[in-house]
């Protein structure tokens, strides 16, 4: 990596952590002017910044308002860089359907996971909150999703996650999708019990999980 690249990636990353939209746009414009690879600028600059923001959240330095502002700076930089992504350099994006299960309207955590997935290069369809099982399945089929990501914060609505897995099995399409679950009352044990493919405790781990689940498919292709 050249010195100038390194400096620009650092500026992008800092702009995200500092919640500075203008600086994110300025640094992204400079990336474009200098003909630096937009994909690497997103990955090593903006994404890296969002990951640092996530760590600050875990350390209780940042809270929800800060994270949302960081994500705004990240999207501002992305908007500049996106048109310059060289399509040949980037492999087909993996698709995720995400939503909060039926009966639950807590969506702050789901929104964070969605933001982090997008930063990490996933193509995310967000169904929103209070979503019946059938809609997850329909949408996943429709867009040819790789991953179905389910969120809930309430014990009373956890079973909706099991219902999604069951419906996939009943339709004989269980192996076409990876199902990942998360939210306050969810645990690895619960994920295993309903037959989900993975669980993550926070947004940063959710990204690692999603990446690892789509990685084998890539190796086989």
């Amino acid at each position: 990596m050249s010195q100038i690249e390194q400096e620009l990636f650092q500026r992008l990353s800092d702009a995200v952590v500092d919640m500075d939209e203008d600086e994110a746009v300025a640094a992204a414009n400079e990336v474009v002017e200098r003909g630096i690879d937009a994909y690497r600028a997103i990955e090593l600059g903006l994404s890296a910044g969002m990951e640092r923001a996530g760590q600050l959240f875990d350390e209780e330095e940042y809270f929800i308002p800060e994270l949302l502002m960081c994500s705004d700076a990240m999207y501002a930089g992305m908007d500049v860089l996106k048109p310059h992504l060289r399509s040949d350099g980037v492999s087909e994006k993996h698709k995720v359907v995400i939503g909060v299960v039926e009966g639950d309207t807590h969506d702050i955590g789901k929104n964070l996971v969605k933001i982090m997935l997008e930063t990490s290069g996933f193509d995310v369809t967000d169904l929103g909150r209070d979503i019946p099982p059938a809609r997850f399945v329909e949408t996943a089929k429709e867009i040819g999703a790789n991953i179905i990501a389910l969120s809930t914060l309430m014990t009373t609505t956890m079973e909706g996650m099991g219902a999604v897995v069951r419906q996939l099995s009943e339709e004989g399409i269980r192996d076409r999708f990876k199902v990942i679950v998360g939210g306050g009352p969810i645990s690895q044990g619960f994920a295993d019990r309903i037959g989900a493919d993975g669980y993550a405790v926070n947004a940063a781990d959710a990204i690692r999980l999603a990446r690892s689940l789509v990685a084998p498919a890539e190796a086989a292709a």
């Binding site: 919640m19 209780e60 940042y62 809270f63 929800i64 308002p65 800060e66 949302l68 502002m69 705004d72 009966g103 309207t105 969506d107 702050i108 929104n111 209070d130 309430m154 014990t155 009373t156 009352p185």
Partner: protein
């Protein structure tokens, strides 16, 4: 099984005065579970104060806990200010759309009139009826959704969070009109012979920082509590989720009793603020009360007693938050029976 010797009002008065009591006060926070007690659907509570009162009084009589709380969901104030609330047939209501879709409409927002707007009149009706029926033996409270949380229902939680950084004065404006609604409603609750019971989910450290709490939530909470104190009522304040970093501020705002969520540590709370406020908490509403057995409930209740029974300013055994609607009756009975068995002075 030991039987109660005192009415809840006698017990709380004696406890407050340092006089002997038969057992510690105990409050499994029963909300829509009351519908199950009289066999109606949660959705039937909508706009029906008489039915809410009937259910809450029946639940109190069945379990014998120490405070009746008239509560169906968090959105009653926001609804009265224009938010859209969705009422499933047999589940707790939820926010379908905030009061305004766009900040350009902010001037439309007005404080609610508790005697006219939304379902507030019906909730007041429920309070009056409950007081009529059992007010001579048990305290009846009415739930108030505090300014910062209500503000999030006026514009949406994500939008409010961004405004905190981009336009603090807008957040203050939203909290101010929410406070006006709160004060009017709290006044009406007191006129109905009840006590306001404050709840503030979004002020949690699970969402905002202690510094942000100080800036955006504290000033309004303090003014609300000052008003209620001015009308000679004590104040219980519940904030969901993590709260250890704001206990001091909650005390400073004037709360007389902090209701501690299961995500916070009761023993730590006793150490930190137990010499200044009464505490209540914090049996896990879902993992223990909903999903556990009477034996799990007994153990969890004893654990709370061990942590906080000797809180200098007093302790009320309670659930960490409102109970889920389908909480088994046997578990609610188990919580009270454990407290009855522990007696006074508490043996555990």
């Amino acid at each position: 099984m030991r039987r109660d010797q005192m009415t809840p009002l006698e017990r709380l008065a004696a406890y407050g005065a340092g006089a002997p009591i038969d057992r510690l006060p105990c409050v499994p926070i029963v909300g829509n579970t009351a519908a199950r007690v009289i066999g109606v659907k949660v959705g039937d509570f909508r706009g029906n104060g008489a039915l809410i009162a009937e259910a809450q009084v029946a639940a109190y009589r069945l379990f014998g806990y120490d405070i009746i709380r008239i509560f169906t969901d968090l959105y009653t104030h926001a609804e009265a200010m224009g938010a859209k609330v969705s009422y499933p047939e047999d589940e707790t209501a939820f926010l379908a759309a905030p009061a305004i879709a766009d900040l350009s409409q902010i001037d439309r927002l007005r404080p609610a009139d508790p005697y006219r707007d939304g379902n507030l009149p019906q909730h007041l009706e429920a309070m009056r009826r409950a007081v009529d029926q059992v007010g001579d033996e048990v305290a009846v409270t009415g739930a108030v959704t505090c300014p910062f949380t209500n503000a999030s229902f006026l514009v949406g939680a994500d939008k409010l969070a961004r405004l905190m950084m981009r336009s603090p004065e807008t957040v203050h404006h939203l909290c101010e009109i929410s406070l006006q609604t709160n004060i009017a409603y709290a006044g009406a609750i007191i006129d109905a012979g009840c006590t306001p019971s404050l709840t503030d989910a979004m002020s949690s450290m699970s969402v905002i920082s202690p510094r942000q709490f100080r800036e955006f939530s504290f000033p309004y909470l303090k003014r609300l509590i000052d008003y209620i104190h001015g009308r000679d009522r004590k104040v219980t304040l519940h904030i969901c989720g993590k709260t250890s970093g704001i206990w001091d501020a909650m005390v400073e705002a004037g709360a007389d009793c902090l209701s501690i969520d299961n995500d916070a540590d009761l023993g730590e709370a006793r150490e930190a603020v137990g010499d200044r406020v009464r505490l209540m908490g914090n049996v896990h509403p879902s993992e223990v009360m909903l999903q556990g057995t009477p034996e799990t409930v007994r153990r969890a209740t004893l654990a709370c007693l061990a942590q906080a029974k000797d809180t200098p300013r007093g302790f009320i055994v309670a659930s960490g938050c409102s109970l889920p609607t389908e909480t088994p009756f046997a578990n609610i009975h188990a919580m009270l029976d454990t407290v009855r068995d522990a007696g006074w002075p508490v043996r555990c």
